[in-house]
């Protein structure tokens, strides 16, 4: 007997409940469906809900509580010499009991009879727990079915009730998404607070140097590490700026071509082709940036007498720009195409040329949407990690020179958490603080983008 089987039984009972409900409803009115308050199938759903909901709630509660209840029952059954172990050893013992009950090897050299007996008891509890759950579920579902069936009458407002149940389910689903976000933000905030107990917030937000290595011995140089986030933010902005310098003009031109000039066939082929760019894994771009673009810039730099390091913000930014072209082009294309044809004809009707129409009428009309698409592309650039790791390096230089190596917030989060770390050192906690900053920046950008896009929507309704 296992959980899936129990769920299966519940589903079958619910389906049965549906048919019972429908035929009962028809029976009550002698087959004249128009005498019922709601359509017959709503009565089916009504009984189905009464079968399923108590069972599902019980099932969820059971799954959540089963392990801890069984464990405490096993502990209670242990002889006194084992029952009074300290917490850490008790955890080990429980582990062994669980493993033994599954027939696995244990960490114990000799398995005492008491432990063996506890393991058997555990296994027995487990299986009877399932049987018990099945029994209760079936009883609950049948009780629900009978209860609901007894209430079916021609004037029972089954549709309203079923619709309310569906609405509650939808509310629960949307709450899950919201709660997840809140949970993530809270964990970021709390871990950041712990970080700020070790490093002053001002040092973090305004500090000009980033070298998060903490020393192994207390007397080493730089024992505390330096956690100034400015070089990372500057690096992020520099690379995003370069990326936008590539993506904005190229993406916009492509969008204008696709929506205004390209014949429908070309547009149908070019648009998906551009969107494929967005589907390439970023690590592939990073590879391309590190092995092709960056060395190319370095060599060109040598020819021109410029010093371009082999890992440069320029290389990373350019490749990132290419990666986000489809975000700009595809969204802008949609927005430009959404400008009503009547505006174009209005301009043509005054004797405007095509390019005048595009520059002076269509682009201004589409501007809010275009700005929205650019901001979404910026958020994407800020969040991008892989390309920067591979092409721009890890050195936290505070510079505005695109030929030098820089690093970004996301890259540092990765390097801080890669490898074995204590989880409460300033170094690991710094990752949460960086994550919080990143979250705030992208949140603000998204809010701006969304509000601009919304404003745009109102215009043509």
């Amino acid at each position: 007997m296992s959980f899936p089987v129990i769920l299966g039984v519940l589903v079958l009972l619910t389906i049965l409940g549906f048919f019972v409900g429908r035929s009962r409803a028809m029976g009550v009115v002698g087959g004249q469906a128009n005498q019922l308050h709601s359509r017959p199938h709503y009565y089916g759903h009504f009984i189905g809900a009464w079968c399923a909901i108590p069972g599902v709630l019980l099932f969820l509660a059971w799954v959540a509580l089963e392990t801890s209840v069984i464990e405490s029952m096993v502990i209670a059954s242990l002889p006194p010499n084992l029952a009074n172990l300290p917490q850490a050893e008790m955890n080990l013992l429980i582990n062994d009991i669980v493993n033994l009950s599954r027939g696995d090897v244990t960490s114990r050299a000799v398995v005492e009879t008491d432990v063996r007996a506890a393991a058997d008891f555990y296994a027995q509890l487990k299986s009877s727990s399932k049987t018990l759950l099945l029994a209760i579920t079936v009883v609950l579902a049948l009780a629900g079915m009978l209860f609901a069936r007894a209430r079916i009458a021609p004037d029972l407002r089954a549709r309203n009730r079923v619709e309310r149940v569906v609405m509650i389910i939808m509310i629960i689903c949307s709450t899950i998404a919201v709660l997840t976000t809140i949970g993530i933000v809270l964990s970021l905030v709390f871990e950041s607070l712990r970080f700020f107990q070790k490093v002053a917030p001002t040092d973090f937000i305004f500090g000009l140097e980033w070298s998060p290595q903490t020393a192994l011995r207390a007397d080493q140089v730089g024992a505390t590490g330096l956690f100034g986030a400015i070089p990372l933010l500057a690096g992020t902005m520099l690379i995003s700026f370069i990326a936008m310098c590539v993506a904005a003009p190229v993406g916009l031109m492509a969008a204008i071509y696709m929506s205004e000039y390209a014949p429908a066939k070309v547009r149908g082929a070019v648009k998906p082709a551009l969107e494929v760019l967005a589907g390439i894994p970023t690590v592939v771009y990073g590879f391309f940036a590190a092995l092709t673009v960056a060395p190319f810039f370095r060599d060109t730099g040598i020819e021109l007498g410029l010093v371009i390091s082999s890992e440069s913000a320029l290389a990373a930014g350019m490749v990132m720009g290419i990666m986000i072209i489809p975000f700009v082009s595809s969204l802008s294309d949609d927005v430009i195409s959404a400008v009503p044809q009547s505006l174009r004809e209005g301009a043509y009707g005054l004797g405007a040329t095509k390019s005048e129409t595009i520059k002076q009428v269509i682009l201004p009309a589409a501007l809010p949407g275009i700005v929205g698409s650019l901001l979404l592309a910026v958020s994407r650039a800020i969040g991008e990690t892989m390309i920067v790791v591979m092409a721009a390096g890890l050195a936290a230089n505070l510079t505005a020179n695109p030929f030098e190596a820089v690093t970004t917030v996301t890259v540092q989060i990765v390097t801080l958490l890669v490898g074995d770390q204590e989880f409460d050192s300033a170094k690991t906690l710094a990752a949460f603080a960086l994550g919080l900053i990143l979250f705030c920046v992208t949140l603000v950008l998204n809010i701006i983008a969304l509000s601009i896009v919304n404003k745009y929507r109102e215009q043509y309704d």
Binding site: S342, Y348, G349, L350
Partner: protein, 270 residues
């Protein structure tokens, strides 16, 4: 074929009168892809007159109107055959610049379509692109005159910087008329300009059309018999892609020669 013969005679009489023919159509056929929407339309449009195009939905009124300023060029699958002659020049001639043509033959659409710009900029847009005004003051003058001609000046003179899209439907349509007038075209084409408006706004625009007739040649598509009777001097009746009959408006509404026209006007079909 009988009909087109009638038209020829009609056109002949007109040309002989004191009116000057502004826009001359001969054998105009329009195709959307393989589908023919207009068949051999011969129609003369007189200068400083209002010509109304009437007919049941889908009969090709808009199609004909849009072929008069080559607005159909913007539709990929659309093809126009035949001659449309504006002041002696064929507008479908290779040498004709469509941008220049549309500055001479302006258009007002069924749904008001002000640009998302200020009221002032909406009206000033045409004069600006054509470089009509030499200075700010002259442009102000053009804008004011156009708004006055469109009967909108007193309503908007204090808020010229407000967005044109913020006006009421009727005001927007008059703004679009002002915008068309500001380029001083010779012909103004109107495709059901009042269909989105209430009776009061409609009355205003009809009055306006009557005044505009002094300076412009106007072609108007309408579904309202009363409107055609009120504003036009000449009426053309289209049916299933054919120009059935064209005559003085009064004669059309009192004594049409074709029984299809009779049927449509008295509401027997359409």
């Amino acid at each position: 074929m009988n009909d087109s013969a009638t038209n020829e005679t009609q056109a002949g009489t007109d040309a002989a009168g004191d009116e000057k023919v502004k826009l001359l159509s001969r054998g105009v056929k329009v195709f959307y892809g393989d589908k023919q929407a207009l068949f051999d339309v011969d129609l003369d449009i007189n200068e400083n007159e209002v010509t109304a195009l009437i007919g049941p939905s889908g009969c090709g009124k808009s199609t004909y109107l849009r072929s008069l300023n080559r607005m159909n060029d913007t539709i990929d699958i659309c093809r126009v055959e035949g001659d449309i002659i504006l002041d002696g020049d064929n507008i479908y001639d290779k040498a004709v610049d469509v941008v220049h043509l549309r500055a001479r033959v302006g258009m007002v659409f069924q749904k008001p379509n002000p640009f998302p710009k200020s009221i002032y900029d909406n009206v000033a847009y045409g004069p600006r692109i054509h470089g009509i005004a030499t200075g700010k003051e002259e442009l102000d003058g053009i804008v004011q005159t156009a708004l006055e001609k469109a009967g909108l000046w007193t309503e908007v003179k204090d808020r010229l910087d407000a967005p044109g899209t913020g006006l009421s439907g009727g005001q927007q349509q008059r703004l679009c008329i002002a915008r068309a007038v500001a380029v001083s075209p010779e012909v103004i084409l109107m495709d059901e300009p009042c269909s989105a408006l209430d009776p009061i706004a409609t009355a205003k625009i009809e009055e306006l059309i009557d005044e505009l007739r002094e300076n412009f040649t106007i072609v108007i598509v309408t579904h309202s018999m009363q409107q055609a009777a009120r504003v036009s001097q000449k009426t053309a009746f289209f049916h299933l892609g054919y120009l059935v009959e064209v005559d003085e408006t009064e004669k059309m509404f009192t004594n049409p020669s074709d029984e299809r026209t009779q049927g449509y006007i008295t509401g027997r079909f359409g």
